[in-house]
């Protein structure tokens, strides 16, 4: 499904972060993931902050002059179906977490490039991308 305007890019980001937030919060409560509880809780909190950043960015930058279509950007490469994190093994939870943050980082990087005509929006998306990059590196270091 195409992401062809400003609103759809930020709506997808909002949904992506909410999905991540729910996954990490649930994983943090999963006894099998006890050793990663602190990290997953942090990731969930970060996604919650990202949602606020995305919503603020949308509110503050959506003006008539920038309601122009965006081409060649679709959501499918960045979608990730998550199994129920509450019943996963720690290994599966980590593997899923890696896929989630990897796709999120790539999404924000690509979206920032697509929306570069709006520097404030691009800046916000890059900032969130960096947060996901940090999460990816943390997961890779485990």
């Amino acid at each position: 499904m195409p992401l062809e305007n400003f609103g759809s890019i930020l709506n997808f980001a909002e949904n992506l972060e909410k999905q991540n937030q729910e996954f990490f919060a649930t994983a943090a409560d999963n006894p099998a993931c006890e050793q990663y509880r602190e990290m997953f809780t942090q990731f969930a909190n970060d996604s919650g902050k990202n949602v606020k950043t995305v919503l603020r960015t949308r509110r503050e930058n959506v003006t008539e002059m920038i309601l122009e279509p965006i081409r060649d950007f679709i959501r499918e490469p960045y979608c990730e179906e998550c199994a129920e994190a509450g019943s996963m093994s720690a290994e599966d939870a980590l593997a899923t977490a890696k896929r989630l943050v990897d796709k999120a980082e790539r999404y924000y990087t690509e979206a920032a490039a697509k929306i570069k005509a709006l520097p404030e929006v691009a800046r916000a998306l890059k900032t969130i991308s960096k947060k996901h990059k940090a999460h990816r590196e943390k997961l890779a270091s485990l």
Binding site: M1, P2, E4, N5, F6, G7, S8, N11, R58, R59, E60, N61, V62, T63, E64, M65, I66, L67, E68, P69
Partner: protein
């Protein structure tokens, strides 16, 4: 099931009109009735004016910074209710949700700009205008003002005026469009939460009786209006008769010229938005597209290709590029213009008649429409259509473009796409319209610049928002002083 009834907001309370006449509010995408509004009466106006007048003195003696703090609180409240306001707006007006969000943003920007009152309302002084005599000018508020606003921007337009009137110490009455009163009602729910002093800000729903009640009321100092040109002219004349200040913004016939050196690919998204954004129901929408010289065929080919892939549907669907027009009656009006274009001999390249959206078979949709080979004297090149209908007039050079623009009677906006600074400068220098876009399809001034046209697009001398609006809402009292 009974439909919700929009109430008036007078003296800090929600009150029902005593009217026995009601109108229906529609969702233009689904063609369903979603609410009702009472067509208010002169008595409703009298009640609101009395409340505003009674509140005036306490409000005008409130320090400007304190008045501004109400607006700061209002801004925060609008941010919190941002999505809800935008959703109501799209539901009753039909525009795309991002367009509605953009409108709410512009509304908030006016609140933000008005908070600069402690600088923008300052007067000026000069010592020694004669021996031992000093002179100073204060800007003082005047009393009760009102705004009568249109259906195409049910949220924003009232806010081109309201925050400035309030922050300068006046009190205010809004009359929303009777076609789309839900958005302003939602906004007034937010105002109610913020808790302005009673009577400072009021809203009366209705139609002609409310308009005339406001125009004729002796206790109203000034009127701001945005709408069609015949109504703007009527309001200007009637306010003149009753001695009111008035700013009456009317319709438009905006021309967008494309020069042979223009970057078509870079400009195409904003060209499409100019003509089809808000389904053409903007006073800044492009209406006449003028390719100059040999760019015409390539421009039309690229323009129609881009228009054809634009999704038309419900404004609440985020993938939608163009929503319905506001009402069944307006749809018929737009279709009438398309018929007129055919009748007068223009070539119909894209036909938006009989356009349907599968999920919303009854919606008030008009598809993107384009006429080629339109002549300057055709009806579709002279009258405001206010729909997604593009009239292409081919011109041989810039002089022909400027002649076309300056003979439309309207003078709202004009745009040009070119890579030549010299051509752009000549264009902006010679055209009559007051809002000019250069490689911009919608020349919409932001809150800190004035909004308004020339010619038959505006009656009055002070435009909406910008710095000038502080003049409209204040009287400069000059004091000449000598002490013995």
């Amino acid at each position: 099931m009974s439909l919700p009834l929009m109430k008036n907001y007078i003296n800090g309370e929600w009150v029902e009109s005593n009217s026995t006449s009601f109108g229906d509010i529609w969702n233009p995408a689904t063609a369903e009735k979603i609410a009702q509004v009472a067509y208010g009466t002169k008595e409703d106006v009298d009640q609101a004016v009395k409340a505003a007048k009674d509140a005036y003195w306490d409000w005008r003696t409130t320090p400007p910074l304190t008045r501004a703090r109400y607006l700061f609180r209002l801004k925060d409240a609008f941010e919190e209710n941002f999505e809800e306001i935008a959703a109501v707006l799209t539901t009753e007006q039909g525009k795309c949700i991002d367009e509605a969000r953009g409108e709410v943003r512009r509304m908030i920007e006016n609140v933000e700009h008005a908070t600069g009152v402690t600088t923008l309302m300052c007067g000026y002084t000069l010592e020694d205008i004669a021996t031992d005599i000093d002179c100073y000018g204060h800007r003082q508020p005047l009393g009760v003002f009102a705004a009568i606003v249109p259906y195409n921007f049910p949220g924003m337009v009232a806010w081109w005026f309201l925050p400035y009137a309030l922050v300068t110490g006046n009190t205010f009455i809004v009359k929303p469009s009777e076609q789309v009163p839900m958005t302003q009602t939602k906004i007034f729910e937010v105002i109610d939460e913020v808790g302005f002093p009673e009577g400072v800000v009021n809203m009366v729903h209705g139609s002609r009786d409310v308009v005339n009640g406001l125009l004729d009321h002796p206790d109203i100092e000034g009127i701001s209006f945005v709408g069609a040109t015949p109504t703007a002219k009527y309001i200007y004349q009637r306010c003149g008769e009753t001695g009111k200040r008035v700013q009456a913004l009317g319709g438009a016939k905006n021309i967008v010229a494309v020069m042979p050196d223009a970057d078509l690919d870079a400009g195409m998204p904003s060209l499409i938005t100019s003509f089809y954004g808000c389904s053409g129901q903007r006073c800044l929408s492009g209406s006449v597209l003028v390719p100059v010289g040999d760019v015409a065929d390539e421009l039309i080919e690229k323009f129609t290709a881009a228009a054809k892939i634009m999704k038309v549907g419900s404004g609440l669907d985020e993938a939608t590029g163009m929503g319905p027009v506001v009402s069944a009656a307006h749809k018929e009006r737009v279709l009438g213009y398309i018929e007129k274009g055919i009748e007068e001999g223009a070539d119909l390249v894209m036909d938006g008649r009989n356009f349907t959206v599968d999920e919303y078979p009854n919606g008030f949709f008009v598809g993107p429409t384009l006429f080629d080979n339109v002549k300057p004297d055709m009806t579709i090149c002279k009258e405001e259509i206010f729909g997604p209908v593009v009239s292409v007039v081919r011109a041989k050079d810039l002089d022909e473009v400027i002649e076309l623009i300056n003979t439309r009677g309207f003078g709202n906006a004009a745009c040009i796409y070119t890579n030549s600074g010299a051509v752009a400068r000549e264009f902006k220098y010679r055209v009559l319209p007051s809002m000019v876009g250069i490689n911009i399809g919608i020349a919409a001034p932001m809150s800190f610049f004035p909004f308004g046209g020339a010619g038959n697009s505006m009656f009055g001398d002070t435009k909406a928002h910008g710095q000038e609006i502080f003049n409209f809402y204040t009287d400069t009292k000059v004091v000449i002083q000598r002490w013995f």
